[in-house]
């Protein structure tokens, strides 16, 4: 079985794909945020990923770790709100795992994913079930690890992870928010889908789509 290898170019391409997906979903994410937040999640992320896209060419001579760290820093300094420091931390932590690397493989990716998630948890002090982006990330990571242990190909494992992430997003509709702006609504937040979980799902799906093309 061919192991997955992502080069600097792959990483750059994935990031710019994410930027496009965020742009396409800007209004959708903002509408979700309007229902239980302050109607800016799509606007925030789009502002951030536009800045990232602009800066990406400057990072291409660096290693993958440095690229991701820079992406995180750009997000932190352009997104603001809750999602800025959280996604920023996510990318910076992923970067710290990949520091010095010009290519990354299955194990690296899992480790990076893991480090990113714990960064989010530390920064935001939220847990799965609090109706946040964690509800889309943690199940995806768990399924990814399990499927790889079961011997699945990375793209197959990732596709299962995407499904888990999607279920996580769906699950956020059923629960009340306990962190972030939506928590002020208490039980009134039930019935609404979390915007941050949705954006996290979209990003994971974008990675999966790219990997899928690479591995098929």
């Amino acid at each position: 079985m061919i192991k997955l290898i992502l080069t600097i170019n792959d990483v750059a391409k994935i990031i710019s794909n994410i930027a496009e997906v965020i742009e396409e979903n800007k209004q959708y994410l903002t509408d979700l945020d309007a229902a239980i937040g302050d109607a800016d999640h799509g606007i925030n992320l789009d502002r951030g990923f536009k800045a990232v896209k602009e800066k990406i060419p400057q990072f291409l001579d660096k290693d993958i770790g440095a690229i991701l760290k820079n992406v995180g820093m750009v997000l932190v300094s352009t997104v603001g709100g809750a999602s800025g420091p959280l996604y920023g931390t996510f990318f910076m932590r992923m970067g710290s795992i990949a520091l010095g690397k010009k290519a990354i493989g299955d194990n690296d990716i899992v480790a990076m994913f893991e480090a990113g998630l714990s960064g989010i948890k530390e920064r935001g002090k939220a847990q799965a079930g609090d109706k946040t982006m964690i509800d889309a990330i943690e199940p995806a990571l768990n399924e990814l690890k399990k499927s790889l242990e079961d011997g699945l190909k990375f793209n197959e494992a990732l596709s299962i992870a995407v499904n888990a992430s999607y279920s996580g997003v769906e699950m956020t509709k059923k629960i009340a928010a306990r962190r972030g702006r939506a928590s002020y609504l208490g039980d009134r937040s039930i019935g609404h889908q979390d915007p941050g979980a949705t954006s996290a799902y979209l990003m994971i799906k974008t990675v999966a789509n790219y990997v899928d093309k690479l591995q098929q």
């Binding site: 800016d40 809750a82 702006r181």
Partner: protein
Amino acid sequence: MKKLINNPDEVVKEMISGLLYAYPSYLRKLDNVDVVVRKASPIEGKVGLVSGGGSGHEPAHAGYVGTGMLDAACCGAIFTSPTPDQVYEAIKAVDGGKGVLLIIKNYTGDVMNFEMAKEMAEMDGIKVSEVIVNDDVAVENSTYTQGRRGIAGTIFVHKIAGAKAEEGAELEEVKEVAERVINNLRSMGMAFTPCTVPAAGKPSFTLEENEIEIGIGIHGEPGTHREKIKGAKEIVAELMDRIVSDLPYEKDDEVALMINGLGSTPLSELFIANKEANEYLMGKNINVYKTYVGEYMTSLEMSGFSISLLKLDDELKSLLDASADTPAFRQFK
């Protein structure tokens, strides 16, 4: 969407530019970041006060930068917390050697971004403390949640901590008095109509012609519940019941009262609410020491208002009475 703007993406930049044209003797802007500081910053031997948050709450916070209040305001995108580098630049610009106090409203985003900046500034050897304002009683305060939000009562923190810092107090003392304000401060708001974030282009929620939203935040976030519209006296009583019982404020307490317009409620109506608020408090034998009526922390063009109550002691009274001279808050002894 009908707005007096040029481009939804340039609102904050252009607003700051118009602010500087209006108040050149009070304010200057830091290079490359949306941070407004006192003209004379840093002020040697004075604790620096930094606040800020998303824009769209004007005159908060840049309007409170000046003598006796803030040293810097970080202006985020509309309704979006400023980023750590903005806050970091603000801290560096106003540190006069005595350290800097961050006045943060309790929102996940604000707290995370300000704290990241604090860590950055501390690595530079600057003394930084923070207080987190959480005056909104509409939101339940429990360890399982985010805690209460910070809303218009924050202006009292700016005013009183600002007066303390202006006296030359130490960072710990300024922080202590700010925390005393926060501990004695409660607020709650309501809305008649929503507001529209320029970049979103449409209202963040909708209300029927006979519906009001109680417990609204200042970002177009929905409140705690909806009701049929009712008279000013009943609305004030509903908010006051929640506020007064929360601390609780008691007979013979002396309080400062703020009736804060959220954007498009006419001043005449805010005065009617003020009449009702004063009479409500009289009925409970709570003494109003000082009243503020106006638009202190808005939510774009939302129609509605909030009430804030601050229980005073002798020191808080004298700090509240101290002179202040800022674009949006002027008061002279």
